[in-house]
């Protein structure tokens, strides 16, 4: 069964534009100029129940706009949407009972009150009886490890603790679909990993459909089975994450600092860019050709390594590669 279906989904809005300078400010005051922005253009999408799907793209690609249309927060300018068989525009309140949202950059919790008060409020909003609320809160507190700070005002929590509370708050009414808009933004590696595990567990145990947007390739690699890439409002690629891993996410970026300058390093599947007079280097590694372990061994043999970091390539770089390859085929 389909959890989400969109057909030729389209959203445009008017944005005010103004040239630089004082004269332009006055001109804009008398005669404002607007331009039409097409945030989402003809998106056709199907998401199955129980699926964990990544919806990725660079900033301004239309990811958040699409999520907000799927939740009924924004009204589409054209096209059709069906979420759990309901129209988000016409049946927004009915749909709200069956979906949950986490917007990583915004908070749904009351800042000056403990998260427990926000849970009480949400339970009332979703019509959850008191006994059931207690059961669910204790279950989520155990699952997300919230017990020790559940009674602390939210403003005093760390970002990681707050995000755990945010995700738990979105799950309180046991939604069938969870929309996660950059849920791991700004979190450290350990907390990111914890959040990912919790989301996966929820998906496995309750069959919750997860619709995720993120700039972190790690989120996509570890959480999703399918990825839809959008850019400038249109779908560029719809592919299993396994294929994405081999084709695009299989690259790692290694930044290394040497004690003495090193001009180059020859290794199959590795491109070497020297910087800082040879003291620093940036290596792009195709892990399908050369595993990271081999690169580290070779680096150690080349010269004395002072510092080394291994990262995923930035999402923007991945999207550019996808864009180039898709345009070429």
């Amino acid at each position: 069964m389909n959890a989400i279906t969109t057909n030729a989904l389209y959203k445009s809005y008017r944005a005010r534009v103004k040239d630089e300078g004082l004269r332009a400010s006055f001109r804009s005051l008398v005669k404002p100029v607007y331009r039409e922005v097409e945030a989402v253009r003809d998106i056709n999408l199907t998401v199955d129940c129980g699926e964990v799907m990544a919806f990725i793209g660079p900033n301004g690609a239309g990811k958040s706009t699409t999520i907000k249309m799927l939740c009924g927060i924004l009204h589409p300018s054209g096209g059709e949407i069906s979420v759990l068989g309901l129209s988000p525009v016409r049946d927004r309140q009915k749909l709200a009972m069956r979906i949950g949202c986490v917007f990583g950059q915004k908070s749904q919790l009351w800042l000056h009150l403990p998260a427990l008060d926000s849970f009480t409020l949400l339970a009332a909003i979703y019509g959850i009886p008191e006994n059931e609320k207690k059961r669910r809160v204790s279950e989520l507190a155990e699952l997300f490890g919230l017990s020790e700070f559940l009674r602390t005002p939210v403003r005093k929590l760390s970002l990681g603790q707050r995000i755990r509370c945010e995700v738990a708050a979105s799950l309180l009414h046991e939604p069938e679909i969870l929309f996660l808009d950059e849920p791991t933004i700004g979190l450290d590696v350990v907390v990111k990993q914890a959040i990912r595990e919790l989301i996966l567990r929820r998906n496995r145990e309750n069959g919750t459909t997860v619709f995720l947007t993120s700039h972190d390739p790690g989120d996509i690699e570890q959480l999703c089975r399918r990825a839809v890439v959008i850019d400038r409002g249109t779908v560029v690629l719809d592919s299993p994450v396994e294929r994405l891993k081999t084709d695009y996410l299989g690259k790692k970026v290694v930044n290394v600092t040497f004690r003495t300058p090193q001009a180059s390093m020859e290794l199959a599947g590795v491109s070497f860019e020297s910087a800082g007079g040879g003291l620093k280097a940036r290596l792009t590694v195709d892990t399908s050709i050369c595993p990271i372990g081999g690169v580290i061994e070779k680096l150690s043999a080349t010269g004395e390594v002072l510092d080394i970091t291994v990262n995923n390539p930035p999402m923007e770089e991945i999207i550019t590669t996808i864009f180039r390859r898709e345009a070429a085929t």
Binding site: Y13, R16, N59, S64, K68, C71, G72, I73, L74, H75, R92, Q93, K94, A96, M97, I99, C101, F103, Q105, K106, S107, Q108, W110, H112, L113, D117, S118, T120, L121, A123, A124, I125, Y126, G127, P153, D181, E182
Partner: protein
């Protein structure tokens, strides 16, 4: 029943939130005291030569205490909250809930207002009795109609602020509208009784809704009579119905044009 419980919990959580702002309440109480004291000094100087437009000195002091009580009790501004919600994009959470945004904001405001009324009401009574003693001619029987008029004034104010807040759905900067509204309420009842205005402006003021926020309950408080009650409260009810209807229409129109900022 479930719907009532839903909004009752919102009021309760909002009340807890208001109580959590201890420093905010204390500074508000200090400001209220200074404000009342300064204006009492001003009115004392003006009243050195007798009564003004039918108001005795005691009446004008209690009038001022009453209008400022309504003003300070409703200082929680739904206008600022909504502007922040729209500009920060946090509105996405509130709109995507099985709760009506307008009623959610109303319940949220009520929690704050109830707390403010308790705190500022107690201080208002202390200040009034300390500066001028009991209000001449006040009867306890006048309390229920007075509270009704006060509640109506608070609700009219709420819906006006809500409409101004909703204008942020379509306007980039709506602060000027808020200032205009604030000044109209201030000049047409909050600072001066409407009777102090020139006759023509008085007539216009009584036709407009702004006086019915503070002037109507304060006038009833200092000079209660049933004919006065029947001349102001039905008008308050009409304005409340009009502002509430307009708010709902603005919300319906605005939500279609909503653009959520910040990702």
């Amino acid at each position: 029943m479930k719907t009532i419980r839903k909004y009752a919990v919102i009021i309760r959580v909002s009340l807890s939130n208001a109580v959590a702002y201890r420093a905010g309440v204390l500074s508000g109480l200090c400001f209220y005291t200074v404000f009342i004291y300064v204006f009492i000094c001003l009115w004392r100087a003006i009243y050195s030569e007798g009564s003004v437009r039918g108001y005795s000195y005691e009446q004008i002091v209690w009038y001022l205490i009453m209008t400022e009580l309504v003003s300070f009790a409703t200082q929680y501004s739904v206008y600022h909250d909504m502007n922040n919600d729209v500009k920060s994009g946090a509105i996405a959470y509130l709109i995507g809930r099985p709760v009506h945004y307008v009623f959610y904001q109303l319940a949220n405001a009520l929690g704050q207002i109830v707390w403010n009324l308790v705190c500022f009401g107690a201080l208002a009574a202390v200040l009034g009795f300390s500066f001028v003693g009991p209000l001449p001619g006040f009867r306890l029987a006048a309390l229920p109609p007075l509270l009704l008029s006060m509640a109506l004034g608070i609700f009219i104010n709420f819906f006006f602020l809500m409409m101004l807040g909703l204008s942020s759905f379509i306007m980039e900067d709506n602060f000027a509208l808020f200032l205009i509204y604030q000044k109209l309420v201030f000049m047409l009842g909050l600072f001066l009784p409407v009777e102090f205005l020139p006759d023509t402006i008085q007539k216009i003021a009584k036709l407009l809704p702004f006086s019915y926020v503070t002037w109507a309950p304060a006038k009833l408080f200092v000079d209660f009579s049933w004919p006065l009650f029947w001349s102001v409260v039905p008008v308050q009810i009409i304005w409340l119905a009009a502002t509430a209807t307009l708010t709902m229409l603005c919300y319906r129109g605005g939500v279609k044009k909503l653009q959520v900022n910040g990702g």
